[in-house]
């Protein structure tokens, strides 16, 4: 397990978090496109774009200094999954924008908590300052996503009932 005590280790973790989030949202956008849920597909596609932008910014921060190469299972996320990654089993082909943004909201909150933990922990002062900035940024995202979700109604009861399901047990 690679611990986070230096700036480059922190940036390597942050990059992995943002890249995994971008990848996961891109997968979900494709899922929704394939299953004809265009509104949620567009939403996830936008999230993938935003997370990818964050990842590129982190790459720029590392400058010419190469980030350490860490195996996916050796990151110190405090959990098996990166904090900003939404569980693969969390999506449904009939899910609504409100539900999709609920998943995003939880992911942003987990990311904020992760970065705050680094900021409050031991390690280089410069790294902890950077982690605090990242935590602030994630908290801002939480508020933005909350406002975004407020534009949509919560799902109707029985939202997942499909009178003509694409797959039915035989």
């Amino acid at each position: 397990m690679k611990t986070i005590t230096t700036r480059v280790e922190f940036l390597a973790h942050a990059l992995a978090i943002e890249e995994e989030a971008a990848e996961r949202y891109a997968v979900f956008a494709d899922q929704m496109q394939v299953t004809n849920n265009p509104e949620v597909a567009t939403l996830f596609r936008e999230m993938a774009r935003l997370e990818d932008e964050h990842a590129r910014r982190i790459e720029e921060m590392s400058g010419d200094k190469p980030l350490p190469r860490i195996d996916p299972w050796a990151f110190d996320f405090g959990d098996a999954e990166p904090p900003e990654a939404v569980d693969y089993t969390a999506t449904h082909y009939l899910m609504t924008p409100y539900q999709a943004l609920g998943l995003v909201l939880n992911a942003e909150q987990r990311a904020a908590e992760f970065f705050q933990r680094i900021a409050d922990g031991d390690g280089e002062a410069d790294m902890r300052r950077l982690a605090a900035e990242f935590a602030d940024e994630e908290r801002e995202h939480v508020e933005r996503v909350r406002r975004w979700r407020g534009k949509y109604p919560p799902p109707e009861p029985h939202w997942d009932e499909d009178p003509d399901p694409p797959n039915e047990l035989e």
Partner: protein, 282 residues
């Protein structure tokens, strides 16, 4: 900290994905296993041109189409013989096999036994959801005997389920592990270990079918790491399996058998004769 300057070092997991969009149901565990394949390949810095993924038929067997490496979508249950043939003729390639529990343990059940015995240096990843998903939800060899939701088995199968790890161990597989799609990074680690271990490696991945077995979403609350290190002793592994509830994850067994090698040089003249007999060459 390893710094690599080769092309492979620059390949990220997403570089091992093709442009084809998976048609699995949203929420399917196989998305996570696909991610684990790409993470393992990236971590091992495999050259995509030196990797082949062979599959059979079923939802999970679509994986080769979603990867940017060589692939072959074989006949139902016949992925293993194809992969073994490929590895024996091209030992320089990294050969993986992907499939599901129906394809691997029913239609291809005997190939599974013989592949374990033969111990060719390939890695077999079975995404086990205890159901035939592609054909809309029939009981598979790993389905519990009291599962009654299929119209084909309204009273359950009432027969013993197939225990893949037990069969693999008894048949001679050289590496045996179980992973969970709820942990794509952990699954990637197990796949990488399996590929790096010589001989026939078998990895069972618990991968929920959220459409026909929605209750499997709860697997993430049940799976837990096995509290023991892998063993090289088959007797110890067998004893551990006696108390296994099918939800312990991790590497169970790492054997020391030498992988099978054909011992014969390629015989191009035989291929030439075959081609002539089929009218492929003059």
């Amino acid at each position: 900290m390893e710094q690599l300057s080769t092309r492979q070092a620059a390949l990220k997991p997403k570089d091992y994905k093709s442009d084809n969009k998976p048609v699995w149901c949203p929420g399917c565990g196989d998305f996570s296993v696909l991610s684990a394949f790409t993470k393992a390949m990236s971590a091992m810095t495999l050259d995509p041109e030196r990797v082949a993924v062979i599959s059979g038929i079923g939802c999970s067997s679509r994986i080769p189409a979603y990867l940017n490496v060589y692939g072959f979508h074989a006949v139902h249950g016949r992925a293993l013989p194809v992969a073994i043939g490929l590895k024996i003729t091209r030992p320089d390639l990294t050969v993986l096999v992907a499939g599901g529990d129906g394809d691997g343990f029913s239609i291809g059940g005997n190939h599974f036994l013989q592949a374990c015995r033969r111990n060719v240096d390939i890695t077999y990843v079975v995404m086990d959801n205890q159901v035939y998903g592609m054909t809309k939800g029939q009981a598979s060899p790993t389905t519990a005997p009291d599962w009654m939701r299929s119209k084909l088995t309204p009273h359950g199968t009432r027969i013993n389920p197939f225990y893949p790890l037990v069969i693999a161990l008894a048949s001679g597989a050289n590496f045996i592990a179980r992973a969970s799609s709820n942990d794509p990074n952990g699954t990637a680690r197990v796949i990488a270990e399996a590929v790096e271990h010589p001989g026939f490696s078998f990895v069972q991945v618990l991968s929920p079918c959220v459409t026909f077995r929605p209750e499997q979403r709860d697997w993430k609350k049940i799976v837990r790491p096995a509290p023991v290190a892998p063993t090289a002793d088959p007797a110890v592994a067998a004893r551990r399996l006696m108390t296994d509830d099918n939800f312990f994850i991790g590497t169970l067994f790492k054997g020391g058998r030498a992988p099978f090698e054909s011992g014969f040089a390629p015989r191009a003249e035989v291929a030439g004769e075959l081609e002539r007999s089929f009218g492929l060459t003059a």
